[in-house]
């Protein structure tokens, strides 16, 4: 077994708010802001799902039934129409999923799994290994949304900074006391790593995450492998 060279680096701009009282205040403010936003997004998503999509479904069925009943009519047209409706349907669905990711209400692991599916189709060259408990979690939808957004943004930053990375390992561990999302990036070159660690996006993401969850963002480097940790506690426990 080769010796691991564990080198832990401080986060860029690692100056967490020192006064707990003000940190709590900022946390409450941010959380409120985030919740309001999430509510709005959810409402919009619901509007699409329960309104537009259902109408579109009815429209498509109507067209399909009509087409079946009128074989003599120019079937090409119907086919085109149907395809257009289907594309519209998919677009609307994607937008609504973007506004309000599926399964957030049910369970964070499910939501992450669902998101991973869409990333896989989005970045076919990137291999995702997802490690997470199968179903159950007790995260609140708002908290789940923060985690999911964080993960989503983090992946974007990686795509920007390490175009050469072809595999990622994401593992989620949900515990009542402390939960952890770890993203393992194997094989990064030293040169890109420096710029990655220095990127503003990463800095803001880490701070936003810490502020919104009162959590902690850490990373650990072993030779060419870097692992990012997002740690947070269940909301109820923070007050104890």
């Amino acid at each position: 077994m080769k010796e691991l060279n564990t080198a832990l680096n401080c986060l860029p701009g690692d100056t967490p708010v020192q006064v707990p009282a003000s940190q709590l205040e900022i946390y409450e403010t941010m959380r409120w802001w985030h919740q309001r936003q999430a509510l709005q997004l959810n409402a919009q998503a619901t509007e699409i799902r329960d309104g537009l999509l259902q109408e579109l479904f009815a429209l498509r069925r109507g067209l399909e039934v009509w087409a079946e009943g009128n074989h003599n009519a120019s079937s090409h047209h119907h086919h085109d129409w149907l395809q257009k409706i289907e594309r519209l349907h998919q677009d609307l669905e994607r937008i609504s999923n973007h506004l309000s990711p599926p399964y957030l209400e049910e369970s964070l692991p499910l939501a992450i799994q669902y998101a991973a599916e869409s990333w896989r189709t989005h970045y076919p060259q990137l291999e995702f290994v997802l490690d997470s408990p199968v179903q159950r979690s007790s995260e609140s939808p708002a908290r789940s949304r923060i985690i999911l957004t964080t993960l989503h943004e983090f992946l974007q930053i990686i795509r920007l900074n390490f175009p050469e990375v072809d595999s990622l390992r994401i593992s989620l561990s949900l515990q009542e006391i402390e939960s952890r999302l770890a993203i393992e990036i194997p094989d990064v070159s030293q040169s890109t790593l420096a710029s990655f660690l220095a990127s503003d996006h990463l800095k803001y993401l880490s701070q936003a995450f810490e502020l919104l969850t009162l959590g902690k963002c850490l990373h650990q480097q072993r030779e060419l492998e870097i692992t990012w940790y997002f740690l947070w506690q269940e909301e109820g426990l923070r007050q104890q």
């Binding site: 832990l8 401080c10 199968v134 007790s138 515990q175």
Partner: protein, 647 residues
Amino acid sequence: MRQVRQKIRDKCKREAAIWRVRALPGFIVVALIIGLRFMGQLQFFERLALDYLLRLRPSEPVDERILIVGINEADIQRIGTYPIPDRHIAALFTTLQSYDPAVIGLDIYRDLPIEPGHSELVQAFSQMENLIAIEKVLSDRSGFTVNPPQGLAPKQVGFADAVLDSDGRLRRSLLGTSVDADTSNDTDNYKFSFTIRLAETYLASQGITLENGIRDPDAMRFGSTELNRVSPNSGGYVGADDGGNQVLLNFRSGLAPFRIVSLEDVTEGRVPEAWIRDRIVLIGITALSAKDVINSAAIDGVNPGLVYGVEIQAHAISQITSAVLDGRPLLKTWSDGWEYVWILVWGLLGISLGRIFTSPLKILLGLAVSCVTLTGVCYSLLLIGWWVPIVPTLLVLVLNGTGLTALLFYRYQQDLKSKIQDRQLIIDRTFDSIHNGPLQTLAGILRTVQERPLSPEQLYLDLKCLNQELRDVYESVLGEISTQRDSIILSPELKLDLTRPTHEILDEIYTYTLARDLPCFKTLKLKVTTFKQIDTRPLTLEQKRGLCRFLEEALCNVGKHAVGVTRIDVICKQEQNQNVIRVIDNGVGIDSSSGTAKTEGRGTQQARELARQLNGTFQRLSLIDTSSGTMCELRWAAVAVRMKDEG
């Protein structure tokens, strides 16, 4: 409708299954008591009980058919000599005869002349046809018999031999017997007793003659009344000497069942004529000095236990004449078969007490009521002449009743004991997990800090880890303690109702546990499961909880230690009358992953305890034949085979 029938059938089956197991000790007790009785170990007590119950009966009116002329101490002193000279006896005969009695019985041996007045007695004997005297036909210990008085026709002689029980008490009356030909010159060597001679003569005067029995040709019969013979195993007797024709003595209850007058009363004419006319007059000695007494515990009296021979004769005659003329019951017994059925029925009642009632107090109460009822029933039956077993029935009832109560107490204490053990286990486990987890981590941190300075980040991660470990310990202890009575809490949002069928709960446990974030589950490719009904016998909620814990523990072991596992088999079903919960994996066996031996030991300990409670077995072994893998299995007897597909 069909469902109702099915339900009833299911219930019956379940009940039968419970009985088959739980009632086994009860049946053993019944068999044991029946065995003891069969060997005669209980007859002493059964006879005592008979005596006691006979004494308890209400007094019967005086039997006016019989007058006892008892020659008492005063008479003997007045006459001034003993034995009473023949002249006095002859004079008594003459006086009595003047009142015209139906029959006179002389219960005094007169084989030898006792002067003066022997000739007068011989004359009286030859003249009076309604006179009956006694002889002794069966040899006593020294081999003696006693001849009848001279001058009497054979018809006027009856033997006075008595058959005593092994406790020296008299409960039977010998009516007739064969005697060896050489001890008697008579060609007809069948002899009748004094009792039957008197009864026969008296009843003949009423127009009823002695005949052979109809139901039992060897029994004696007057009219429609058959005198039931005693057989070796009648009633409480086992292997009794049934020589000759014996009947059970149904003593006339009461302090004064017969009129008794003294010799002087008769000679002085103080006895009303009506007491003698057409009645049976018995002459005997009623003086203790004459030693003509018999032991009986069934007769109430001033001097209980000792009864004059003449009184016994009166009882024996009276029971026959009263039965024939008044329909007074004679003592009867059931055949052996029915007696044992009777014992079995009460034994079953004793067993079912434990099934019907669950609290020991109620069982004891039920037992008391049953005992009183049983005694009452036996007493009532005795009043109408049936001597039924009471001692063995009471024994099986009480033994089964109290035995079950004791068992309940025992079970309760066992439960308590295992609860205390569980608590101890939690404490031990807590200590272990603190020792194996947080303390080790802490030691590691201290060591590293000593060696080289630690970056704040690393220290933070390590402390986080320590924090997590400590909280894990707290969580697991909390989980163990906060188990609610009828549910099991797996996670804040998964609460299982323990009253649901066991296999369904276990299926949930399986799904939940496999979804846990355990390292070895990641390589799993194939999961094969069977969850079939195993509620063949009622399990307590505590046992169900134990089964859940067992499955969870077994699956967690796979998740933690079965490195490289690709297939897991989970089986919960019935196999050849046994319920089985089995987990098989094909990962690296337990032996090769050491270092966790201690915690595994705890799990194993708990599984063994569970197996003990279920009277089953637990085993965990490495599968050698399939290169790698481990099997963990708990099995226990399923009482009844009940498959879902049957219905």
